[in-house]
Structures are given as structure tokens and as C-alpha cells.
Amino acid sequence: MAKIGVFVCQCGNNIARTVDTAEVAKYCGEQDGVVHVEDYKFMCSAPGQEMFKKAIKEKGLDACIVSACSPKMHEATFRNAAEAAGLNPFKVEIANIREHCSWVHDDKAVGTVKSKDLTKMMIERIKFNKPLERYVMPLTKRALVLGGGIAGIQAALDLAQAGVDVHIVEREPSLGGNMARLSETFPTLDCSQCIMTPRMVEVQNHPLITVHAYAELEQLSGYIGNFRARIRQKAKYVIDDLCTGCGECWEKCPFSTESEFEMGLVKRPIIYIPFPQAVPTVPVIDNTECPKILKDKCGLCADVCGPDCIDFTQQDEIKEIDFGAIIVATGFQLMPNVYREYGGWRPPHMTPKKLTAKQRKALPRSDAGRLVDVINGLEFERLASASGPTGGQIRRPSDGKIPEVVVFIACVGSRDCNKGVEYCSKICCMYTAKHTMLYQHAVHHGKSYVFYMDIRAGGKGYEEFINRAQDEGAQYVRGRVSRLTKKGDKILVKGADTLTGQAVDVEADMVVLATAMVPQGDSEQVAQTLGIGYDKHGFFSEQHPKLMPVESSTGGIFLAGACQGVKDIPETVAQASATAAKVLGLFSKDEMMRDPEIAIVDQEKCMNCWDCVTVCPYLAISRVELKDRNGNFRKWAAEVNPGLCQGCGICNTACRSKSIELMGYTNEQVYAQITAFGGDII
């Protein structure tokens, strides 16, 4: 027989005003299994809690109902008090007679009847509450940072400075990401390399940071606190530990191909580092191009390498490393196809995303043949960069002439579902303004035009920056460009000024497109490998748009930078530091406590329909083989991973054989609660 205690709270006058608490207590005392009742002014006060604990101990109560305010307020309070008194905390339930009764009904008779009923329902329910124990899970205090752009660098440094062991997995041969490509940065026009490279060096020298450059995450298993990552270290054909980064090899390499880092503007050797300040400075051999690897010809680099670190037989290496938390910082790319449709001059090295026929048709047409001098923003950054292919002189790609008239087109592919994506790419207004300035500073007599839809410059110092660009000579034309055609060695830009209603034609030497920022081409695969959510564009989804902006939908995986949405550098860095803070919070304990209100399978009953496996939003359920004593296969069954289960109970509803149950909300409990219903309603 149950020994239930019922504690009815008057909440000063908050409950007592419209509920006859004494009457409720009396009624509860008459219920089956109730051995103790109290009616008290403030249950949550210190004396109230003492009374609660004393009753548990003295009356040997094995379950308690507190009829009081919402469980959101004091469920934890009374569960902790029960635990202190030696009663399992999950044998305490709250009947909400304040928010759901006394505060919403003015009639005392009505309030009293409803309070009785609500408490009675809880009394019946609690008879089926099982004592539950919190799970203690081990915790690996090592963090994985996926992507080594500014977001990954910032997060790794923050963590390492706090004493956490960090591994960065970067798929390119060097850290840096897109920020390393930028020449100068808005809104201060400080040189990107100057603020970026010291950080990269700091990462390399930090004893707690391990950089896996030219590597990819192949598989991820486990759950918060206990992830296991399979990392594929792609063959560099260069022995890391021996290489001094002297550069003999890449200077002597007789073959070349387009440089990805320079956006294909120039060539790079086959054995290469992406850019001179690369970190690590170990070169890699591009095995899709190297004639030695492909057909055993050449091998010059091996001959010139002093420390003898070239190894043409090297294979990809698989490393398995355990992590407790993961920060995803895989960044963005510029929308590839739109730029090609505008007549961009080179096949983009970036993974193209397919455009629908409708989208392709809606794009402004360029004449047959490619317009070589139509480039995108990142290419312009390289042209303007002092360390770029032109040494910082802005020269157009076709003939190397200094362009006298440059047209910048904003919102290419953004804010338009027909041409590209519906969202605003946000940073393009700013970098276009920056580009006009960089151009104006380099070519004093040059003329720059900006075709724009709206100017969006909401950041700190941003509006001022736009004004400055206009003061320095950029002519802003509000309107769209409909057509780019070749005219001699110039490009005829046909546009409209929607403010004056007139057509505007400009003969430009070069056109720069501010193409939309979109997720990496493989972001959906990456999300699937990680088991995190992504939106329809491929940006990774945060757990809550306002209150949990850096958490992914999977516990222990956090999001930093442009992989989660369009961002400029200050925002990226802020978010990266936020993820580091979250990881530090997680790692501040030695082990993790998990709520026991999760699903559990009765494996003997399970009939292997795997419905639960299909519906679980957290992929928490797996199929396991049950073995008999001799280790022979006996039957299949579902099994819940307590580290992954979030306690939604969707599986419980889906299970036809009723073999999987959500602790704390079992069918028995709910049915008992419903069964208590049906008495007087008013």
C-alpha cells in the first residue's frame, strides 16, 4: 500500500482566496493510499520545506504531492527537499492549483472542486511513479573544432587558453579560411592578414592545440561528452615532422595548376602551400595533378628537398580520437553558379550547387562567350591585396590593364528566390563599399558605380563607412542591372536608376559582383555526418533562434561563424567565443549528470518493428543483438542511448508493442491520471 503525503499550499492568499485549501486537504486525506495531509500558508518557505521533510521522515512517506504553483516554479525545490529527506526525488509531483486554478477562476466553489480534482489526478498518477536515478556519464575533456577559419581559430584559442586540449580539423592545407583572402576589412580598413596571421601562428605554437591540416572528419559516433571522431588525414606526400618549410620544392616544381586560394587568378605549383603565410608551412602534393604520382615522371621536389621529407608512397591515414564537445566552424562560400551565369570568367573551383532551369532563366544574360572581366568579391579582394597576384595593383584579369571604370553590382543572387536565395546576404553592402574605397585608393582617377537595391548597414560604424565610400567618389545608383554585354574590350552594363526612372548604361572596364554568401557545397553531408539540423539553404540550425543561438540541435555540438548563417568577422568571432564558453561550461564538471526521464526499452517485449528508431529525432535508439549465456544470437531489440535521449517520448507513442516507455511519463502514469478524471467538473 502506498504511503502518500499531500501538501496543500495556500500561497499566502494567492490560492486560499479562491480555493478552500482545508477542504481540498480533507478530501485528499480520504483518498486511497494517502496517509498524511497538510494545509499550510507557504509550502516553499523554509519552515514549509522543513515540515515537508519532517513528514517524509516521520511518516515514512513513499510519495508526495504538493498542491501549489506551477511545476516550473517549485518542482525542483520539492524534489531536492525530498532527496534531502531520503525520498527519491521522482516520487514527488506537483498539482498546479495556482496558475491553472486559483488565479484563473474567481468562484471559490469552482476553484475548490477543480483543485480537488487536479490533486486527485496526481495522487492516482504518483502511485505508478518509479524511483529513478540520475545517470552519471563519463566526460572526455577534449574539444574538436571543425574548420580552421577565423571562427575555428578564435574558438580553439579561447579553449586552449582556458586549459582545454583542442584539435582543429581543417580540410585545406592551411588554416585561415576566407578571411585570409581578404585584403582590408570594413569598417576600419585594417589589413586582414595583419590581424589574422599572428592568430594563426599562436594556434600553431600553442601546446594544447593540435592542427590536423588537410584532413577531414569522416565519421562521428557517440554523444555529448563522449564523441568518437574518425579523422581522415589526407596524404600530403610530405613528412610533417621533417619538413622545415624552406620552400625549395615549391619553387622548383615545374608543373602548375590554378590556385584555389587565389580564386584561379594565377597558377600555383603542384607541390604547394596555399599562400605564403600558411600555417602549417608544410606543403602538400596535389595528387590529382602530380605527374610523379600519376605516371611516375618528374620527382624533382624529392631531389631538391634538403631534409628528404618527400614520400610519394604516403597513404591517407585514419585517426580515431575521442572528444567531449564539438565546435562546427565550416564557414561559407560565394554562390558559385550565379557568378558564372553573369559571365564570370573561370569555372569556379568551388563545388557548384545546381540551379533550377527557372533560376537560370531569370538571371541576366551575358552574351555568348564568357566575360573575363566580370569577377566576384573574393576575386576582387585578391586583386586588391598587397600579397595577391598583382601585388595590390588593381588590374583586370583579361589584359592586365588598370580599369578606369568599375561597376559593382550588389545583391547578386541575394534577396531573390528566382535568381538565387531569398535571404539578405548582409555583408555585401559593406564589402562593396569597402571595394569602392580600395579601388578609389588604388586608382585615383578611376570611376566606380554601385548598382544596389537597398543599403543595409546596421553594424557599429557601418553607416558612417557607407557615407565615407560615397564621399570618396563611389556613385551609388539605385536599381538593378539587366544585362552585361561585351563592347570592344569593355563591358556594357545596362541598368536602370529606379529613383529617376531612367535607364543607365555604363561602359565598364571591369564588373564586380557582390554574390550571395551561401553554405559550403557539402554542408548537408557534413550535417548528416555530425547528426545536426540544417535549414533549407544548408546553413546549420541553432537549437533556439533567440535563446540558444550557438547550440546545434544535438547536445555537445556547437556552431560558430558563417556555417550557421551569414556573418561578418566581428559577429563570427563573438559567436566563436560564445561556443568556447559553452564548451568550458560543459567541461567544468568531472562527469555529467543526465536526467533519468528518458526512454527505456523492455527488450524481451520488443518485436523489432524499429518504428522507434525511425521516429526518434535524436537518433538515440539503435538496434542491438541480444545474446544468450553462451554468446549465441538470441533476438534483436531496440536500445536507447541515455546520452542522446532528450525525453520527448515520441518513441513511446510510436511503439505498437508498448515495449519502449518514457520514464516519468509512462502509459501507466498517464492512464492512472486520466482514470481519476470524471468526477464533478464544477
Partner: protein, 161 residues
């Protein structure tokens, strides 16, 4: 203090199955904002609308409920990402099944109520109570249900005893 509410000849009994993140909190907000709504409803708190088993509703009707409310977070807002989509799909199919069994589907209300929509909560409760009051008592389980299999078991028990 304490204004009397008008009591009708027939006061419907309504059971609500709600998720704890949105609707339950919305109802809490109605309380903290001291809104007033009809007292005919009893709420059962579940983690997610995806946990609402159609059999809970049948059980509620069997216990004498005249109407049942199912409510959770709005589409796209589910704390567990997709639980409410399961609830919605289940509700669509299950309504037809209920209809087929002769249970008036007008007695089942499905509504998205967020944690901020205290007003919506009160409106849904008031409107639904009014609607069920007009529909009248739910007659489905008035007669004792005879389960032939259960009878058979009882009989077998007696025989063996």
C-alpha cells in the same frame, strides 16, 4: 471578492493533453496574467505533443469526457524539433478513425498554442467549452461496454476454479 460563475444545466467535462514547453506554459501565463476562463478543463502535462497517444483520448472519453483538447507548440517550434509534426499527422489519421467508430470528431480539438499565447489558450478553452456544451453530453459510453473476450476470460476463470 469571488465573483460567482454562471452554472448551466450541463457542464461539459474536458480533458486537455498538452506539451510542457508551449501550451502548459501558455496556460501558466494565463494564470500569472490573472485571465479568466471556463473551469471545465483538466490538463495532463506531457513532454511533447508527440507523446500524446490516441488511446489517451479514447480513455478520456471512456472516463466520461465530453471533449478532448490536444495542443502543443506551433509547427517549427517543437522543443524536440519534430514531435508536433508527428502529433499533427497522428491527429489527422486518428480523427478519421474516430469518425469511423462513430465518435463525433467535433469533440476533439487540435490547436497550436505557444508559451506566449495565454489569450489564445483562454479563447480556445472558452470556445471549445461552449461548443461542447451545445453538443451536449457525450453518449458513446453511456451503456456498459460488453467485451466478449473479457467475458470469455472471466468464464474460463470461474470454470477452472
Amino acid at each position: 471578492m469571488g465573483k460567482k460563475i454562471e452554472i448551466h444545466d450541463f457542464e461539459p467535462k474536458i480533458m486537455a493533453f498538452v506539451c510542457k514547453w508551449c501550451t502548459y506554459s501558455g496556460a501558466d501565463l494565463a494564470g500569472t496574467s490573472r485571465m479568466d476562463y471556463s473551469p471545465n478543463v483538466r490538463m495532463i502535462r506531457l513532454p511533447c505533443s508527440g507523446r500524446i497517444d490516441p488511446q489517451f483520448m479514447i480513455k478520456a472519453f471512456e472516463q466520461g469526457a465530453d471533449g478532448v483538447i490536444i495542443s502543443g507548440c506551433h509547427p517549427g517550434d517543437c522543443h524536440y524539433n519534430e514531435g508536433n509534426y508527428y502529433a499533427r499527422r497522428r491527429n489527422t489519421t486518428f480523427r478519421q478513425l474516430m469518425d469511423f467508430h462513430g465518435i463525433d470528431i467535433e469533440r476533439i480539438e487540435f490547436s497550436w498554442i505557444s508559451a506566449a499565447e495565454a489569450i489564445k489558450w483562454t479563447e480556445v478553452i472558452d470556445a471549445f467549452t461552449e461548443k461542447v456544451r451545445e453538443l451536449g453530453r457525450h453518449p458513446q459510453y453511456d451503456d456498459e461496454i460488453v467485451d466478449p473476450y473479457a467475458q470469455f476470460l472471466v468464464q474460463k476463470d470461474q470454470e477452472s476454479a
